[in-house]
């Protein structure tokens, strides 16, 4: 069997193995099937309680939120990263402030966000924005400052300077690091989204789980957790593919 | 006594492309005791593979290698090796690296420290014992690598393009170093390079390998006394000869 196919087969076997174990333990009677339902019944039960259109609605709301927050956070992050990477005086001014704020976990901002923006969408989007912003700024800045000076010098000997140098050489050279920032930022945004929805929301995947807990619907909780994980995986994969298409050909790493 | 007999060694690697898979085919070569032999050839001619087979790191698909009449079945056992990318353990100091083999053999700390210190002096790195590889220059790293390989007092020294990553001047320096060390501790040396001039300066015999699959194309003895002048006119015809054979 060719190596690739064999790896895939092993992977599938491992996953099925775990699922089988789960099923076995849940049905064995060692734990109450109410708190530890087997995967088969969990899925069926969950779908019965939360019909597909409702489910799609929650997923949609969540994705929209994280898309907004991420777009704003990544956008501003890239902007600041590029400008501070290009104009070092700006970096000297702004970075201490950013470094000071960075260790504060985005979730810790929730109460302040509610004070500033109220209980609605903006406060959640703000926190998600924070989740994407910091990794984006850091990675972009690192990309900008890590550009091989030889590249810039070579471009300068060809007559490039100022904005053209920035857009035609510096930014492309920084793209791999920016791409890393995008993936990390997305992952963080997603995590923050879920938490934000657990704490203060009326719709969305996080809310779904929290609500299910109050109703005692364990199956829905488990299903929701898996759904969130799957969504995260799929979106991250898509992001990775897009990045790979744009950068993969010329970037060795 | 350390003669090496390579008998009809073939090495095939698993590959989708049958052309690429065959690294060496039916290669036979005899290397005499304390002889300095250099293998020269283009990239991909299997020089490194052959060295790995002699070292016992890789098993041949067919054929065998005999050292002093005994079949090679694994690495170690009197076969020291120096690699192109120094392969020093980054977490150990120069001394720690040189001691490594002795520790594997179970030599007590005091003895191995003394032996290692002596070797570090031999390769001209006194004072650098406590430096980490990352703190040393390329040439120094290779000196440590050489000392490390010599620590177990091997009868055979296998060197895989050890000076390939160094600049020209350091290279020349290292070649002289190597000859100096070799003259004080005679061993059988199998040296791999793709620099013809390097081969001519160092070896008793140059073996030219053809590419894909690797086979012996030609053997060129170099009968001049050492140390050799790199600009010695007597080397030119040999250079020509080897160059032509490379094709």
């Amino acid at each position: 069997m060719r190596p690739r196919a064999r790896d895939a087969a092993l992977g599938v076997t491992g996953t099925l193995g775990v699922l089988a174990l789960w099923e076995a333990v849940a049905r064995s009677g060692l734990v109450s099937p109410v708190v530890f339902p087997p995967p088969t019944t969990a899925v069926v039960d969950a779908l019965r309680r939360v019909p597909l259109p409702d489910l799609a609605g929650h997923v949609g709301v969540s994705l929209l939120r994280v898309a907004w927050g991420f777009a704003l956070g990544a956008g501003l992050g890239v902007l600041i990263g590029i400008t501070s990477g290009w104009y070092r005086t700006l970096a000297a001014l702004i970075h201490p402030v950013i470094e000071l704020l960075r260790p504060i976990p985005p979730l810790a901002w929730i109460p302040m966000a509610i004070v500033w923006f109220g209980l609605g969408e903006p406060s959640k989007v703000f926190v998600i924005f924070l989740g994407a912003f910091f990794p984006m700024v850091t990675n972009t800045y690192r990309g900008m400052t890590g550009i091989d000076p030889v590249l810039l010098r070579a471009a300068q000997t060809m007559g490039l300077s100022g904005p053209r140098l920035l857009f035609q050489v510096a930014i492309p050279a920084a793209l791999p690091d920016i791409a890393t920032g995008v993936r990390v930022g997305w992952g963080l945004s997603f995590g923050v989204l879920v938490a934000a929805e657990l704490i203060a929301a009326e719709r969305g995947m996080g809310f779904l789980i929290m609500h299910a807990r109050q109703l005692g619907e364990i199956a829905v909780i488990i299903f929701g957790i898996i759904l969130i994980g799957a969504t995260n995986l799929v979106t991250d994969y898509c992001l990775g593919e897009v990045i790979r298409r744009r950068l993969g050909r010329w970037h060795p790493g | 006594m350390a003669t090496i007999e390579i008998r009809g060694v073939t090495k095939r690697y698993e590959s989708d492309d049958p052309e690429r898979g065959l690294a060496i085919e039916d290669l036979s070569l005899t290397i005499r005791d304390n002889e300095f032999v250099t293998l020269v050839g283009r990239s991909g001619c299997g020089k490194t593979t052959l060295l790995n087979v002699i070292a016992g790191l890789v098993a041949p698909t067919r054929g065998e290698v005999l050292v002093d009449g005994q079949r090679v079945t694994g690495p170690g056992g009197g076969k020291g090796m120096v690699f192109q990318q120094h392969a020093l353990f980054p977490w150990l100091t120069a001394l720690g690296n040189v001691e490594f083999g002795c520790k594997s053999r179970g030599v007590p700390p005091r003895e191995r420290r003394a032996a290692a210190t002596q070797l570090i002096e031999l390769v001209g790195l006194r004072g650098f014992e406590d430096k980490y590889p990352v703190e040393l220059s390329g040439g120094m790293q290779q000196r440590v690598a050489l000392a490390r390989a010599l620590a177990l007092d091997p009868e055979i020294l296998l060197m895989d393009e050890p000076f390939g990553a160094l600049d020209e001047l350091t290279r020349i320096e290292m070649q002289d170093e190597l000859l100096r060390v070799w003259s004080s501790r005679k061993k059988t040396v199998v040296f791999v390079t793709h620099s013809i001039s390097e081969a001519l300066v160092l070896s008793d015999r140059v073996v030219v390998l053809s590419a894909r699959p690797g086979r012996v194309r030609r053997e060129v003895p170099v009968d001049l006394p050492r140390p050799r002048e790199r600009t010695d006119p007597r080397l030119s015809p040999l250079y020509e000869g080897i160059w032509r054979s490379l094709g």
Partner: protein, 261 residues
């Protein structure tokens, strides 16, 4: 050039802080929305004295939070290292577990909070379990990578130096994997801090995350901000501590970073 940017940065920072204070004093910004440093100082004093909520002093909050993180983190690391080494060294095991690990990592740790509450109640166990979960998978992937991606030439060199498989494992594989393991520990720590905040926002009144939530309930934005600052401070301090430790334990790796750039 070295000193000037730092002075500039600090100066700017000082300017912002003073401006913030000034704007609040003058009435330009409402202290509820942007608690000025003076208010924050008072709030901290209150936390140190009477405590907030009543009786729970700042020291207690910090201790509770750090203890929870510490326990979860230690558990995760203790499990991840041996497991990661095992999986990294045995390719079959690696292939078998890859999809599972990839998925488990994608599960948003805090999404497990409701489940954790159902299984472990609202006490300490659920929070520690959550932190352990988040830290574990991150650490695991890093240990696996550290052990998997060792330059094969180091192993070959050790073989030529008469080192057997056991010796190679202890004296080559493990040391070579250390930098990556430390990287994992750093990232896992960050995850721990991220998770604890969310975990403490439900079902407890002790701990920095709880403090922030409680502050909101009583419209004490000043106390909330102090809580935020404290979390950030401790997170930062511990991260720096870890970096220092790494530099002491792996003096040879630091040089490598400098050389790589």
């Amino acid at each position: 050039m070295g000193e000037r940017p730092r002075l500039l940065g600090l100066g700017f920072l000082a300017l912002l802080v003073l401006g913030w204070e000034g704007a609040s004093q003058v009435g330009l910004v409402r202290p509820f929305y942007f608690p000025p440093p003076s208010r924050l100082a008072l709030a901290f004093w209150e936390l140190a004295g009477e405590g907030f909520p009543e009786g729970v002093r700042v020291g207690r909050h910090v201790l509770v939070t750090l203890t929870r993180i510490g326990q979860g983190y230690a558990l995760a690391i203790a499990l991840a290292i041996p497991l990661g080494v095992l999986i990294g060294r045995i390719p079959v095991l690696d292939r078998l577990t890859l999809p599972l690990i990839t998925f488990a990592r994608s599960v948003a740790t805090l999404s497990l909070l409701p489940l954790a509450i159902v299984w472990f109640g609202v006490g300490e166990a659920s929070k520690v379990a959550l932190i352990a979960y988040g830290c574990f998978w991150v650490m695991l992937t890093n240990v696996i990578a550290g052990v998997k991606y060792i330059d094969p030439i180091l192993v070959r060199a050790a073989q030529t130096l008469e080192t057997g498989p056991g010796g190679i494992f202890v004296r080559v594989v493990l040391p070579a994997a250390l930098p990556r393991m430390f990287a994992g520990m750093r990232v896992a720590l960050g995850v721990g801090f991220m998770v604890i905040v969310g975990a403490e926002m439900i079902g407890t009144i002790q701990g920095l995350g709880a403090l922030i939530m409680e502050a909101r309930t009583y419209y004490r934005s000043d106390v909330g901000v102090v809580g935020m600052v404290l979390i950030g401070l401790f997170g930062f301090a511990i991260a720096v501590g870890l970096e220092r430790l790494e530099r002491v334990l792996l003096p040879w790796h630091r040089g490598l970073e400098a050389v790589r750039r």
